[in-house]
Every structure is written in structure tokens, then in C-alpha cells.
């Protein structure tokens, strides 16, 4: 039987970046907060033996246990969705810090264009530029309105980046907290080549610290060691900004924060108008508890945020046949696949070395920074060379025509191991009327609750984008002084098997229309004023960038909205 606990003012579901930021902000302001996290606790000492590719990268030590809960997937409504039985196109966070522990730390503010994509597209190209089923829209907030929240995230996490940035991205009111990362020889080649072509490369802003840093909360962290075990790993130095070494200690220090781990939230309790609390199951004991609360904050990443609303019958579920409702709408992803490799027969690079956010990139073909009049797609991609540290299980490079096993394979992969630099595009993903999240009618989690179902595919927009961006990567690679280059310019249908990125977006989108968006621009739910929902699930589309800068800014915005709501003593803020 469920055990009903004493009421608390604020309960947060999920202790990743979003949950951590909101917990820190609200406890600093003097409010009592309970944080519920389904996974276990973590600290840097867990990572003294983290340089283990098999355990962390191939066996997904830090990620969600799919035997308990996964996602089902189909390309179109015509097909039966089936569970993602093993990883996977994306890797879901679990445990204190969430995916914020095992991310890379590549940090990009979205473009001013992103937040007003619908009006700007019409303004420049006319209504007909937007295909009928492409459901892009303005976000209900502008870049300028978000600017100060980006700054907060940057100062908190110590983002390392260049003091001068190209004109084709959003202006910053305050420079990055620390200087840019070091330049590897590959980055130099990319930078020289693209500058020669008239493009505007810059060192990728990084949440791996370029130098020791003390943030405004007094948190000290050490500089990055370029150790090459970053993406999919925790950082034993605390150099990579993650919630466990930045915001959570601040919440804990306040004395106002109660963290409950192994607490898997299964529903939001409500009376149809407002939430009254949440229920959760202790994953170790099986005990179910009810936690009454004045304010409920969903910070459990895209899939949990949408799933909990649908399971709890809160908000209007999206219906693609009538194009009505909101919860589950505008699921989007990241369009990777455009790339070129530069192969050097005459030299080798130290490619085992690297950091999650080490690299250089340019935005000359991102957003609306170039003319799309004669192109069959909108938006674009950030084009980059990254040096994240290539590890041998995951990286066995062969060029077209090499067998996949045997003597020739062995010789080619060993020969190529340190001779290839890849230039690639991280493409934007536009929403579509028929791409959405809902509850699966058949498959259940280990508690017997329906899994979330994803309906998603790559469309002509994406294939055209990849073809175009790939040509640009080739053009750059050709200038990098390599022996030869090879282009990859084709994507087919979306396939859930190969890893692509954990940049899932949409489902609880923000906006100014209560009928077709889930939250307002303070991330407050239209249909339940004491519920705040935050994360990449608020994105109306995904940009040609990694998401967390914008997720972080939205989390600070939400914290402010919650404070406003409490001050006002109710109603929409």
C-alpha cells in the first residue's frame, strides 16, 4: 500500500542538469525542495577506474537499465512500434546528474533565428517555403529574452570559449567564463582550411574547463586533462561540468534540499486543475509512496516528461490525425550523416588524446546564415572537426571497399588508426505533423506501465540538408592538405541501431498558444499552473547544435518562473 508522506512545498522529478539547476536556484532563494531521482547517487570518486572503454562505452555502465524501461519505435504510423531492446541511437541518463555526467560538454547557444524560425522563414522566403506537414513555429521567447539565462549557465559551469565570436551567431553580453581549450594540430588544419575558404571557424565552447575555475557559488574545479575518456564516462577530475560537481553541492549546502535516490516517479497526482503531488516507487524495496507538494517540477528528460503527463492524464494528448492537442507534439532529433574524411598517408595525429568538447566549428551553413531560396530544405548544420579521444573498440576506421574482417581489415584499421580527420555536420531537425510521442498500446515497463512510443523518420528535408552540408565538409577537407578525402552524403530512413546523438527534443513544447503548446515561456504548464516542465522537451524543433546550452538557459528561466509564481501566490506567470 502506498505510504503518504508529509506535504512539501516543491518536488522535482529527475536530478540531471535541469533538476540540479532548479534545485540550486530555489534552495539558494530559501525554499525547501525535495529531489526525486530514480537512479543511484554518484561522486567523482566513482571514476578513479573510469578509463574502461568496455564497461562505460560498450556496456553503458552509467545509462538507464533498458530491462526496466525503454522506448518503442516505428518509422511511420503504418508500422508496429517495437521496443529498443538494447542501445542504441541515443543513451538515456540514470542516476544523480543524469546524462549530464556522461555528456561531452560541447556548448552552443541556439541561434536567434531558432526562436523565431517560423516568422523569419516567411519573412525571407514566403509561406510556401514551409512544407505542409512541417510544423515549425516560433518558440514564444526570443534569443534576447533568454540571453541572461545563458550567461547564468556559463558562469555556473565555467564554459571555456573564445573571447571573440563570428557575427553570424547570437551576441553575448558577457564573455565566456574561461579562455578557450587548447588547439590540436587537427583543429589548426580545419581552422586554416575553412578560413582560407572565407568561412568563420571558432574553437568550440566547452564545459570541460580550460583552466582551474571558481564559480559565483564558490565551487572550485580543476582543469581538463584531455584524457580521451569523456563522452559516456564521468570525469574523475571534476573538470567536466556536471550537476554533481556544480549545482547539486550548492543545493545540498543550503540545508534546504532533500535528495531521495532510487525513487522512480510513476505519476503526477492532480484534481484536473492543479497537481497535488507525485507518486513514486523505491526501486530497491518496491515501496510505493505518495509525496504531496504545492509545486511539481518535471525534469526527467524528454521521454519521462511526456510519459508522466500521458500516464497521469494531465494536459491534452496530441492527435496527429486531427492535428489537435499538445502533449507529445513536435518530436525532433538531430540530422547527422553529412561528413568527409581527410586521410593522411604521410603523418599521424595523437587521436587517442582529446576532450569531449575539444574541436573547432563554423556556422556559415547553420540556421539561416546562407540563402535557402534555391534549396529544398531550411536551416542547416554546425560544421566541425572534433577531437574527443578515439578509443579502439568503438573506432575501427576503414575506407570504402575494405572488408569488414580478416587480414585486410586488421591491417587497414591499424594503419588508419591515427591518420584520419573527420569533418562533419550536426544538422538541425525540423518537426513534422506525423512525428510524435505517445503511449505504446502493447509494451510495458517492469512495473506494468505503458512505455513511451516514438514515431519518427528522416524526410526529404533531412536528406537534402545532408547532401548539401556534406559538399561543404568535402570542400573544407579538400583544403586540409590530406593525401585523399572521402565524402558521405547520403542518409536513408532513421534507424534506431547505430548511435547518433542523445539530442531528442520536443513533446512538451513551449509557446504562446495554450491549445497546441504544453507550457508558456516560463515553462509553466497551461493546464496546471503549479506544474513546471523543463528540458529539451520544450524545444519546438532542434537546431544544428547540441542542446544543453539552451536546456540550461530554460532551466534558469523556469526557476525564475517558479519564484514568480510563488510570490504571486498562484495563477499563470
Amino acid at each position: 500500500m502506498a505510504n503518504t508522506l508529509p506535504k512539501v512545498p516543491i518536488v522535482i522529478v529527475g536530478m540531471g542538469w535541469v533538476g540540479g539547476i532548479i534545485a540550486a536556484e530555489l534552495t539558494k532563494a530559501g525554499h525547501n525542495v525535495v529531489g526525486l531521482e530514480r537512479g543511484k547517487s554518484r561522486s567523482t570518486q566513482d571514476y578513479y577506474h573510469v578509463h574502461d572503454e568496455l564497461r562505460y562505452a560498450s556496456r553503458y555502465e552509467l545509462m538507464q537499465d533498458l530491462s526496466k524501461e525503454t522506448v518503442t519505435f516505428r518509422n511511420t504510423e503504418k508500422v508496429r512500434a517495437l521496443p529498443m531492446r538494447s542501445y542504441g541511437s541515443f543513451l538515456l541518463g540514470d542516476g544523480l546528474g543524469g546524462a549530464g555526467v556522461h555528456w561531452n560538454g560541447q556548448y552552443y547557444r541556439f541561434l536567434p533565428y531558432d526562436f523565431e524560425i517560423h516568422s523569419k522563414t516567411i519573412e525571407r522566403y514566403g509561406k510556401n517555403k514551409i512544407p505542409k506537414e512541417m510544423s515549425i513555429r516560433d518558440w514564444g521567447i526570443t534569443y534576447d529574452e533568454l540571453e541572461s539565462y545563458f550567461v547564468k549557465y556559463e558562469q555556473m559551469s565555467g564554459i571555456s570559449g573564445p573571447s571573440e565570436l563570428p557575427d553570424n551567431i547570437g551576441k553575448m553580453s558577457i564573455p565566456y567564463a574561461t579562455p578557450p581549450m587548447k588547439m590540436s594540430p587537427g583543429m589548426k588544419l580545419f581552422t586554416d582550411a575553412s578560413s582560407k575558404l572565407g568561412y568563420h571557424p571558432y574553437i568550440i565552447p566547452s564545459a570541460n574547463l580550460s583552466q582551474d575555475y571558481t564559480n559565483p557559488d564558490g565551487i572550485e574545479r580543476a582543469s581538463c586533462q584531455y584524457c580521451g575518456y569523456c563522452e559516456r564516462f564521468g570525469c574523475e577530475y571534476g573538470a567536466k561540468a556536471d550537476p554533481v560537481v556544480t549545482v547539486l553541492p550548492v543545493a545540498q549546502k543550503s540545508g534546504k534540499f532533500e535528495l531521495r535516490t532510487h525513487a522512480n516517479v510513476t505519476g503526477i497526482l492532480h484534481d484536473g486543475k492543479k497537481a497535488t503531488g507525485v507518486k513514486y516507487v523505491n526501486t530497491l524495496t518496491g515501496q510505493e509512496s505518495v509525496q504531496p507538494a504545492d509545486i511539481v517540477i518535471l525534469a526527467g528528460y524528454v521521454f519521462t516528461n511526456v510519459r508522466l503527463l500521458l500516464l497521469s492524464k494531465l494536459g491534452k494528448p496530441y492527435d496527429p490525425t486531427t492535428d489537435t492537442g499538445a502533449v507529445g507534439r513536435n518530436y525532433a532529433y538531430q540530422v547527422n550523416g553529412a561528413s568527409s574524411v581527410a586521410v593522411y598517408e604521410d603523418r599521424e595525429f595523437n587521436l587517442a588524446m582529446g576532450a569531449g568538447a575539444l574541436g573547432s566549428s563554423l556556422d556559415d551553413f547553420n540556421g539561416d546564415n546562407f540563402d535557402h531560396s534555391d534549396l529544398k530544405f531550411i536551416h542547416g548544420a554546425n560544421i566541425r572537426f572534433t577531437q574527443t579521444g578515439l578509443r579502439p573498440i568503438q573506432y575501427q576506421p576503414v575506407l570504402a571497399g575494405t572488408p569488414k574482417w580478416g587480414k585486410d581489415f586488421k591491417q587497414a584499421t591499424i594503419h588508419n588508426a591515427n591518420r584520419i580527420l573527420a569533418v562533419s555536420g550536426q544538422g538541425a531537425s525540423m518537426p513534422n505533423r506525423y512525428h510524435y510521442l505517445d503511449l505504446d498500446p502493447e509494451y510495458k515497463d517492469s512495473l506494468g506501465l505503458p512505455l513511451i512510443r516514438m514515431t519518427f523518420d528522416f524526410l526529404d528535408q533531412d536528406r537534402e540538408l545532408v547532401k548539401f552540408i556534406a559538399q561543404k565538409t568535402k570542400e573544407i577537407a579538400d583544403q586540409m592538405g590530406a593525401t585523399k578525402t572521402e565524402i558521405h552524403d547520403t542518409i536513408r530512413q532513421y534507424n534506431i541501431v547505430p548511435y547518433q546523438s542523445t539530442h531528442n527534443t520536443g513533446g512538451t513544447i513551449m509557446g504562446s498558444d495554450p491549445n497546441t503548446s504544453v507550457v508558456n515561456n516560463y515553462l509553466q504548464m497551461w493546464d496546471a499552473e503549479n506544474v513546471f516542465i523543463c528540458g529539451a522537451s520544450n524545444f519546438c524543433h532542434n537546431s544544428g547544435y547540441n542542446p544543453t546550452a539552451t536546456v540550461g538557459a530554460l532551466a534558469y528561466r523556469a526557476a525564475e518562473g517558479i519564484e514568480k509564481y510563488m510570490k504571486k501566490g498562484g495563477s499563470l506567470v
Partner: protein, 259 residues
Amino acid sequence: MAKQPSQQPQDESRRKFLKYSGTAIGGVVVGGVIGGIIGSNMKGGQKEPAAPPSETNTPAVPADRDYNQALMFFSQDQFLTTEAATERIFPQDDLGPGAKELGVAFFIDHQMAGGYGFNSRDYMSPPFYKAEASQGYQLTFKRRELLALGLDALNEYSNEKYKKTYAKMTPEEQDSVLTAFEKDEVNLKGVPASTFFTMLQNLTMEGVYSDPLYGGNKNMEGWRMRNYPGNQMSYTDQIDKEEFIKMEPLSLHDHLQLG
């Protein structure tokens, strides 16, 4: 708000970690220095083989024996078949050892004995339907079941074609059998031949390149062959260097500081 260090430099085992590497600087981690020192300490220590413990009464272990090595999952026949097949996937050549010498079959045996072999962190609940390729693995077999079936099928197919068990055939014959599995030209009691082959191929490469602690990549020879430095603590001083730097690899064993 008062100045407060993040929890990381304060915790006890971190301090120990730093003490052992001779680098506790007032409780604050000054990354570059520590990384560098740990890295070079380890490397220095590595060159001299560890002295045998001085005060033990245990009789000397014969040099050619490794009592930590035996089978957890495979039968001896399965082991030999695996050894032969993985050696074709990653053969010995003038660059260095192949899968057999690297201990890949032991790696696979150990993996199948544990959670991975049981798909313990995969969603294995029914119902099972025929899938589109884009939906990934949707068969009922656990990895250890698929592997055992596949190894049987390798031998059965070899017997049919060449009247020999897999391990006894010539390398060319072995390659032709693997190719038939890879291309799904084998139809044996519903064994999904190419799925089995891909799994074997992945396991082979994991056995070649994972940390030696898992039973493969013997003496880090897999890493050494491709100049992979294993797990060093820091590359701060090397990351911007133009020249290619070869280093003696380090493994997790080198970082073990117990007691």
C-alpha cells in the same frame, strides 16, 4: 554565498588517491600538475617488473601456468571453435598477434558467463514480432544462447561442406564458412546466421581492444599494435604537439592502489 569547494577535492578516497600519487596540494586539485605526475609515476613504475612478494609461503607457481584462467561458460569444443573463428576475424600477421594469442576466446567466455551473456540490461520482454531493420534486434535469443547455437551451426555447416569440424579446417575453408554466415547463406534450424556472425565479430574486437582485465588484449598487445596508449591520466602537455607521440600503454591494473 560563502566560498565552498565542490565535494570532489574533499572526499576521503580522493585524498588517498592523491596521496599515493604524491600530489595532495592543500586539498585542491590542480589538474595539470597531478595529471602529469600520476602519468609519469605510473610509467616509471611500469618499466621495472613488480618484485615478487617477499614474505609468502606459497610454493612457486610454474611460469607457464595462469591459475586465474579457465572456462566459465564454454565447453572445450566451443572454446576451440571460438578461438579458430575469431582468429580468422582478427588474424595473426606481421603486425602482431591475432585473436587467439590475445586471449579473445577467454574474453568471450567470460562475457557470456556474466550479465551481458544473459542480456540482463536489455529489454527482453515479449511479445516478439518480426521487425524492420531500422528497429534493431527483436529475436528471443539471449546472447549466450545465440552464441552457442551459432557455434554448433558453424561445426554442422563445416561438416556438411568439408567433412571436418570448424577448428580442423584450413584457414581458407574457415573463411569461406564465415563468409557464408556473414551473407546469411546458411539455413540451419532457424539460426539467424548473420546476426550470430555480427555478434561474434563485435565480441572479437572487444576482446582485442578492451582492458586486459577482461581476459583479452593480452599484455596490452592489442593496444600496442595500433599505438593506442591505453589509459593515461593526462595529455595536457601533449595535446597541442604536432609530432606523433608513441607511449608505452597503461592499463587499469597500473592504476590499482589498494590498501
